[in-house]
């Protein structure tokens, strides 16, 4: 019966694993829901700023903010948003697979690269790469990230851009499409792509503002907050993606455990039956000999 006993311990260990994975699946599902809600909550702020900035830059054609001016690219900064923890399927690996060709392209064109990883996995990944300069990083943000935790990292990048050390900032993150799909995305953060909002042409709002203290300063403040809110949105999106990916991965793991248990159960039954048969044969042949 030793074979049967071994199989039994194996079954119980697989069962334990299954318990853990299905618990993780349920936790991820509930966290995903709250992350999605948070994603929705960040939208109005960015939309509002977007419409105001879009108008301001139109109303003040003589004032061109550095964030809006394209210049010759000699050095590119990447903000790489990843998850802090693993066990979320191929989420981070897919993102790196998208990120590496970007680095390669910069390399071929002889451009310098600076990276700011947000999230533990990205930080570890960037540390392993050679020839990549890490400017700043933010890790262990948890499930409810606060903008305040990101400001330092973003400021390092923005300062680089303002001083002319970095000529382009790109944002790398997983966009949450739906529960099954997370799209690794690389976007240009700065210079800001021309913001054009057709809705603004409607005469719904009057745009002849009184500015306090003055228009340039207001635009400065708004643009900085706009960029920060974009990065924050990317982080929130990435967290929703992480939870969705983890949920799917853990579901697959639980299903695999289930089929593994079925197989093991079958071979356990066979082994037990074989043992009984042998015993019977022994007894019968023993009786026949007597």
């Amino acid at each position: 019966m030793s074979g049967a006993k071994e199989i039994r311990t194996q079954i119980s260990s697989v069962q334990n694993t299954q318990k853990i994975t299905s618990a993780m699946e349920m936790v991820a599902a509930s966290k995903m829901r709250s992350a999605q809600a948070r994603m929705q909550a960040t939208r109005p702020y960015a939309e509002k700023i977007r419409s105001v900035v879009s108008h301001l830059s139109r109303a003040q054609p003589e004032y061109r903010h550095p964030f809006l001016i394209e210049r010759d690219v000699k050095r590119v900064g990447f903000i790489l948003v990843t998850s802090d923890r693993g066990l979320c399927g191929g989420l981070n690996a897919n993102l790196f697979r998208k990120f590496l060709p970007e680095l390669q392209r910069c390399d071929e064109r002889g451009l310098g690269v600076d990276v700011c990883p947000i999230g533990n996995k990205g930080a570890q990944f960037v540390n392993r790469l050679s020839g990549v300069n890490t400017l700043a990083q933010a890790t262990h943000l948890g499930d409810t990230p606060h903008l305040a935790d990101l400001l330092g990292t973003i400021k390092v990048m923005l300062d680089g851009y303002r001083n002319g050390e970095i000529d382009q900032i790109r944002l790398v993150y997983n966009e949450f499409v739906n529960t099954m799909t997370q799209q690794p995305t690389v976007e240009t953060l700065l210079p800001l792509p021309t913001i054009d909002d057709p809705e603004l042409d409607e005469q719904k709002y009057s745009w002849d503002y009184i500015y306090e203290p003055d228009p340039a300063l207001v635009l400065d403040e708004l643009l900085q907050r706009y960029v920060e809110s974009l990065v924050y949105q990317a982080v929130v999106d990435n967290i929703a993606s992480e939870q969705a990916a983890r949920m799917v991965a853990m579901k697959a793991a639980s299903d695999n455990a289930e089929s593994l248990i079925e197989d093991l159960q079958l071979s356990y039954n066979k082994a037990r039956q074989a043992a009984i048969t042998t015993e019977l044969t022994e007894i019968v042949s023993g009786a026949a000999a007597v």
């Binding site: 700023i49 105001v52 990083q137 330092g152 709002y205 306090e212 228009p215 403040e221």
Partner: protein, 141 residues
């Protein structure tokens, strides 16, 4: 038309308030601003402080904003609130902190290699200490 305007208070992390109001008072950089419906369009930078809101029933509500922007349209007022205290030196400190984390992570990579060496050194030191203690005990006896 009722003598009210719509007020939205939004931050980067969430929407804090959205309702019809009669009167809003906020602290702009140039001083306190009281806003009633049909105010001229205005865009102002806010100072950290409270925002006072009077609802149609006369009920008052208070919000604390740590800075932000105030946008006024005749019938819509939007406050883009900051989620954290913003000042040049605080931002600077946060930036320094982020840089330090990156440097530390880089140092950690080498530290991992040195881990074994440190451990053996520690073991050697502990052995020396134990030897010293037993020597002392012998002398004491």
């Amino acid at each position: 038309m009722a003598n009210t305007m719509h007020l939205d208070i939004v931050s980067a992390e969430e929407a804090l308030f959205s309702d019809e109001v009669e009167f809003v008072v906020a602290r702009a950089t140039e001083g306190e601003l009281g806003v009633t419906p049909r105010h001229a369009p205005l865009m102002a930078k806010l100072q950290p402080g409270d925002v006072r809101v009077r609802m149609p029933g006369g009920e008052e509500q208070f919000f604390y904003v740590s800075g932000g922007m105030l946008e006024i349209q005749p019938h819509v007022v939007t406050i883009l609130a900051d989620t954290a205290l913003r000042a040049r030196d605080i931002d600077e400190a946060a930036a320094e902190e982020a840089k330090r984390r990156a440097e530390e992570a880089l140092r950690d990579r080498t530290a991992e290699v040195d881990y074994a060496r440190v451990q053996t050194e520690l073991a050697a030191a502990a052995a020396q200490l134990r030897a010293l203690q037993s020597l002392r005990r012998k002398r004491g006896n």
